[in-house]
């Protein structure tokens, strides 16, 4: 019961972990990804990715700039141009 989440920038692999849910700022609206999401690909706009490590947990927020998100059977991969820590 976990979603594999990876956040990658050109410089490095920022995060690779199993989480409950991730909220992504898609260019056509925010979307949340849970485990078992249908294959999906979207460009993303500048904004905040919220990572919920468990159900009901407080989200960890990561500010990102540009890029896109891909959901496949292995999980969610976000390719961001930049991550502002």
């Amino acid at each position: 019961m976990a979603l594999h989440f990876e956040l990658v920038t050109p410089e490095k692999l920022v995060r690779s972990e199993d989480v409950y849910m991730v909220q992504v700022p898609g260019s056509e609206g925010d979307f949340g990804v849970l485990e078992g999401h249908a294959p999906f690909m979207s460009t993303i706009s500048n904004g905040t990715v919220s990572v919920f490590s468990t159900q009901g947990a407080a989200p960890v927020e990561i500010a990102i700039e540009g890029g896109f998100a891909e959901v496949n059977d292995k999980g969610l991969t976000i390719l961001a141009e930049r991550v502002n820590d």
């Binding site: 990876e6 990658v8 920038t9 050109p10 410089e11 490095k12 692999l13 898609g26 260019s27 056509e28 249908a38 294959p39 999906f40 690909m41 979207s42 460009t43 890029g67 896109f68 891909e70 496949n72 059977d73 991969t77 390719l79 141009e81 930049r82």
Partner: protein, 289 residues
């Protein structure tokens, strides 16, 4: 025969040169580790991007394909993007890259194509200018930053894409070294624009939903892909520079050591000869009395 004093000075100067090359070697070794780590850290992004690219490019083809993928229909004007280092002291690295670039340019010219150059890094300027003086389109200066990173790559890519949109060239090739080891850095020539269509990826069979649309995503993806390619080239040149520098400086240090040994032997011989002459003079002087 050089005098004793001259020899002594010579040994001293070679010794200080050796100190410098040794220091540079150690610095390069330390920086190499860093550059290699950076190159490795960048790999996941490039791999994922390539995966996405290949799955998309096979879907969007034909007339609907963006210009960056399909090209502008012509194949006349080629642009060579040559990535060199900003600093020297790295053996034959830069001359190898320049040689590969010039070879490619000659090849294209023999086919009746027009060739121009887009130079990144300082060290390629002079040798390419010597051969193709009027064909250098632009220099991109990377010497102002310590470690050229994604921002520089993005700037170069934006520049190239703007030139391409303006029909300043039809095909762009990227010339850069591939870092194999500290001893081997092979110059590589790779097509950059139009983006070569990757082999179709293994389709998992599942239907992927695209947002906004496949073409819009591809349109955003292609410039990013070009940026990533350039970023990769910048990382490769950084690693290659340090690797080549380490090897070159190691050789220089060893040569200096050999030279010092030879000069020391020469110095000792002349010193001994001088002493012998003096003794002979004293002895023959005493015998004459």
């Amino acid at each position: 025969m050089a005098s004793l004093k001259e020899l002594k000075n010579r040994i001293g100067s070679v010794k200080s040169t050796q100190k410098i090359t040794k220091a540079k070697q150690m610095v390069a070794a330390a920086k190499l580790r860093r550059a290699q780590a950076a190159a490795e850290a960048a790999r996941p992004y490039a791999e994922r991007l390539e995966g996405v690219m290949s799955s998309l490019a096979s879907k969007v083809s034909g007339d609907g394909a963006p210009k960056l993928l399909a090209g502008n229909g012509a194949d006349q004007h080629h642009l060579l993007v040559v990535v060199n280092t900003d600093k020297g002291l790295c053996g034959g690295l830069n001359s190898n890259i320049v040689r590969a670039a010039i070879l490619k340019a000659r090849e294209l010219e023999a086919d009746g194509k027009k060739v121009s150059f887009y130079l990144v890094g300082k060290k390629g300027r002079a040798p390419i200018k010597r051969v193709f003086e009027s064909q250098i389109a632009k220099h991109f200066d990377t010497s102002t930053v310590r470690y050229p990173g994604f921002e520089e790559a993005a700037n170069i890519a934006d520049d190239l894409i703007a030139l391409f949109a303006d029909n300043q060239f039809d095909v762009a090739h990227l010339v850069y070294p591939t870092f194999k080891s500290a001893l081997v850095q092979d110059p590589t020539v790779q097509q950059l624009i139009p983006v070569p269509t990757p082999e179709a990826a293994q389709q998992t069979g599942s239907i992927v939903e695209y947002e906004p649309g496949e073409e819009e995503i591809l349109e955003e993806l292609l410039p990013r892909f070009v940026k990533t390619q350039l970023f990769g080239a910048l990382l490769e040149i950084a690693a290659s520079e340090q690797g080549a520098s380490m090897t070159a400086m190691d050789n220089a240090t060893r040569n200096a050591g050999d030279l010092i040994n030879r000069l020391t032997i020469q110095y000792n011989r002349s010193r001994q000869a001088a002493i012998t002459t003096e003794l002979v003079e004293i002895i023959s002087g005493a015998e004459a009395l």
